[in-house]
Symmetry: D3
Subunit: 134 residues, 6 copies
């Protein structure tokens, strides 16, 4: 249960409804999830976060499926339950198969392990990794 | 400077050299980076970590480039300097362009932001995200 | 459900009861929350933690409300459910309005995002930020 | 040293210069720090991040000084060197005294400690903390 | 509820059953916990993770009880509910008393606190701590 | 370089010197490390932190060497450079051999990996792990 009220469409101000409408139109769904309903208590944050997510997650040099899987990888690393569940669903909807999920989790697990080994031994960075890009 | 000695090839035991040889053969390089030289102080960990990385990062349902970018995303989330630098280099070597890097970092940043917003408001998980897969 | 028993007032030793009494007197409440009841299994930790919290959270150069909001910001960053809920309540009790909560969460979210961007690009620190204070 | 080039004003596109100009005008400074110069490699991220920071950190229900200290608290929790140094400077510029810094760090330390204690014992949330706000 | 199906022994492939059998034989139990049943959806990860855990957690320079308590300390720091509960049970089974648990948690709490204080003030490392081991 | 001045013994107030003396007497050394010199800018925090560390790290149900290794494990997980270096030194001084360090790091790495796997798949806790202790 959230620490703030979830603002349903029917109880939302015109400003909030405008964002809800855009979410549903962009994602081609007929419902808005609880995350947005919680953010709606602070309309500037709702608006800014949605605009940011829309910009960041669209097609670009990286396909949406890749972006969804990266989002899931970060959520798993941070241990956010809501995010893990919603982004597992989002990634599956974007095309992630069971095999992809299994490999993604394996990479996330290994990265979290070797991050600590490298940090734990305070390994100095090899010069080839310090190259300044042109 | 590492908290343990970096084991150079010349000073390595046959067991350690065997792993070094496999790293260089697999990665098609003629040098071994400091991370492995630090792990070499505990040969079982060197061997197990290399075998794991080799298995996890190979081609599969996800292409190596995707895996490298996920590894970088996790390293950025965790803030490990060695890992960020070595995996930025690794991802570039696997084909990551500047545009991909820019979009990847944007996703990592957004995910770390919304993870805290969802957690911070203790948003309850929507039923559609609780579906048991078949 | 905790991994240790919650020690109720009635079952507590005199040493533990003394801490419970001080908590209730200081916070002007007639109950002790589960966090303290769990810590009570290790009386030195209960005592030390309460004394520390009492010292750190009192009025000083920063008002208690500011301190409560900072405590909440850290708890949100770390994703501790018990802490998020108890400190959201504590901050509200100290005077945090809905508008303040909305702005606080927005700052916490942005900070978690830009922390990863700065770290992810390994941005070097500008000299003006390296000034030694007098 | 950053993993991307720092884009100096003189080498920047008109789009990037526009953001640099707004940063300097808003912050009343005559220089742009390295964080923005690194983000400038991906202009959409530079623009979006600056617009977000400008919106989130302005005066509102919480004064800018409070927001700067919260930003510092999160950066300390996450361990980002660039962020800790730049935001310590930013908070001092906004009015944070040495006494405030000392108290802020004490709160951040305690919160990181009790977050682990509460999580570690899996303490169940007390009903009064589960109240749904009106 | 997991985001993947839990693979029960009866529904498992011979490859997965072989791992289940080894887990039960090594741990002298007649059941396999949910963690392994979830990993079983990606047999290479199940196999690799079990082999790694078996190697890392066995008797060595550090006794199994010490290793179990360290595993718990990391799980508490990261806030993983499943891990905290399963490893509290595992450590108790290996011989951890209530007094040991209380002291362990106290150390974990303090370490998480002083880690932020040291990082927060960007304390420079004393030369004696930079000694290269022979 | 720290963001606050390091308070040397010669420049310290009697209150701070008293703490420095106790640190040196307890640790049987003739110098105080930079961490304490930075905390000394806020005497209440210096005093409280030292008293806490002294109480928590002494001999008890767990030997000091075990506590030092747990402290190092947490510091490695969190990635605090100062802490990793100072506690690697502290653990070695308390008796940690190279073999112990290698095994400790292996456990820390595995735990950080499996924490993410368990969290990532949102594995439900097995009933035997939910037992209420007597």
């Amino acid at each position: 249960m959230a620490t703030v009220k979830l603002i349903e469409y029917g109880a939302a101000s015109p400003e909030v409804r405008a964002v809800y409408d855009d979410i549903m139109a962009t994602r081609k769904t007929d419902w808005v999830n609880n995350f947005w309903k919680a953010l709606a208590n602070h309309p500037p944050t709702l608006k800014r976060t949605w605009e940011s997510v829309k910009e960041v997650m669209g097609t670009g040099a990286l396909a949406p499926l890749i972006k969804e899987m990266v989002y899931l990888a970060v959520s798993v690393t941070n241990g956010c339950e809501y995010c893990i569940r919603s982004h597992t669903a989002g990634a599956r909807k974007a095309g992630m198969t069971d095999a992809m999920l299994g490999e993604l989790m394996a990479v996330v697990g290994m990265a979290n392990e070797t991050n600590r080994l490298a940090n734990g031994y305070q390994v100095e960075v090899d010069p080839p990794f310090m190259t300044v890009p042109d």
